[in-house]
Amino acid sequence: MNAIKCPLCTHILTTPLQQCPACDRPLPRGFYEQCRNAPPIWLMTGGFPKHGKTTYLSALILKLENLGQVLPGAYHLCRDGYTNDAIRQMRRETQLGDQPPATPRGATQPLVISIHHLPEQTDRTIVMYDVPGEIFHSLEEIPDYVPGLSEIQTIWMLVSLSELNANADGYSLPGLFHAYFTALDQKKVDLTKLSVVVVYTKADMVENFPAAVSEYLLSDPYRRSVGGADADKGRGFAMSAYLQEMERISQVLEEFTDRNVKGGNAFVNMGRHLGMKLKFSAVSALGQAPDQEYNRLQSEAEPARVLDPFLWSLWLSRPADTVKRAQDDQLLLLLDSGGAAQPLYDEGLALALWNELKLRGFPARVHYLGQSKAVSHPGQTPPARPAQRPRHRLIGPILEQSQGTRAVVLTTGPISDLADFRSGVWRHSLFLVTTEEDDAADWPLTFHYRSGDSASAIVDLLTAARPE
């Protein structure tokens, strides 16, 4: 487990205390014990003035307050009075339709929120620094505002493309990134361990977004008022399916950034060169522009996809032991070899997936579905074509006879006996990759493969799944 540090000064805490022995300020209640069970995610949010950062964070926080409606069983707790007061203020402004004031200048105190019963039975503690937009004018100020800068695992760069395009103040995407980079470099932060989520705010106002992005925003299954009832309650949250969609949109937005955003190409290249994990999302905190004269909403807010940056952060900063444990497990790669399986092999998906798994430290044993005997052992490349004689789409004998605890299944159709394992240990450790759009399996970990999807996206989702 990583060291537990004071969220106000990053002094290492070794015992439960009410007050930090280094900065003498009160610690969030139960912070030490909390972090032992719910590893912290250190998060910094930043963006230029008027780019909608504070409004977005308000929408997000209020969405987190109703997280149980999205993720059944999940709930949050404010860990100190400061966070409690800040959220109460956000709630009040939302009820009145007022827009929150900009983040004030001055040393930043983080919001400390614990989130419980997340997917995969995890709890996390969010330590969130909201950095005022003005300080991005003076790069050297950032470390003063964010005492926990060296701990930051995830940065949200909140950018409004409508404001950026107007460009009255000469801001640019590389400019914002450079501000972060300079500050992090001063603190000798290992950039390869950093995740950057570019959050395009006010996405409802961007006219030239690809159609896929607009459709994605409108199809948010949880697009309701920030504090209101959720029509989708009880529908359940298929985390893997949602992450899959997020990954797809991230790729669309990255390409859009590369081609259409001023300085976007330089930014993407820089991020990749520095080895950071780079993801993109588009959000609308309000679903509408507020009345300019009164800075109030004309109707109830309808935020769209505001959870996405949060979910990215959870996923990208999952505890190292989750990844390590996954790599210790034996992995089965099960390939459809039925009569209609040829397209899987024509696209080279099995080999691409096998290679990606190998790169990530998961040497896979490969079986055809419907064949107990392995067709290749860990280290051997998988077959390039289906078996000469088509095999049944059956999985039970393979799963029950293997020592594996994780499996990836590539299939073009339904698997006769998959439902037998819905209530067992494989429920959370068997990853189904199917080319069927309307598969009836309703398997909890399903990736609907479409031509051109990357193998790395599939493995990302696989490693996020935790065996019970």
Binding site: Q371, R391, H392, L394, A419, D420
Partner: protein, 221 residues
Amino acid sequence: MSEILYDAAGFPMLRVDAIDAYIHWLPVTKIQFEYFLCDRPSSQFDQDWYNGILQLNPRVSPQQIAQKNYWESFITGIRPDEARAFADWCGEQDGAEYTLPTGPEWFKAYQILKSDPAREIAEITTEKLSDRTRKLLIRIDKAVRDRPRETLSLADQMLMRDGVMEWVATEADKRPWAAFGQPNKTFFANLYTPDSGQPQIPNDYEQRLRSHGFRLLRRSA
């Protein structure tokens, strides 16, 4: 000598001294047969063949087994020669001799087991079973017990009645196969009872009979 053994698919067989053999606790299930299909891919038992079987009697997952559908667990619509292929495969796995019972063997076992009381299913569902098999046995046992009846014999618990018709071998050259047992009436309405001691003789061995499954004997070496 152990009273319970497990076949190649991990399903229990109960020793019946009167016939000097172990007999499957239940008619052979689709899960058992799928072990065979996955171990011996062949053109005879290909996907079309299995689709035809499932059309006659669909598949049910263990967690969905209930009084209204438990017979869907069993492989039926199967012909005697196909059942024998499964028996041969079982034998190849552990070196023992597996066969379909003869009519007299089936009936003798039935009479013995009919006079024994049902057992606690926990005696059968040991840690040797897979989760899936354990679930299947428990759910079927519950479905059987939930059905109102005066007494529950071991034969009833093993579904020698109220289950499926079961292929047995005869000594007649022209009609080498017959069937004992009794299908659940919701599955296949019928008036036949095994208590008559007379097996049911099918008219046509080529026809797939929806109600017909089987269980095996493992001969003591």
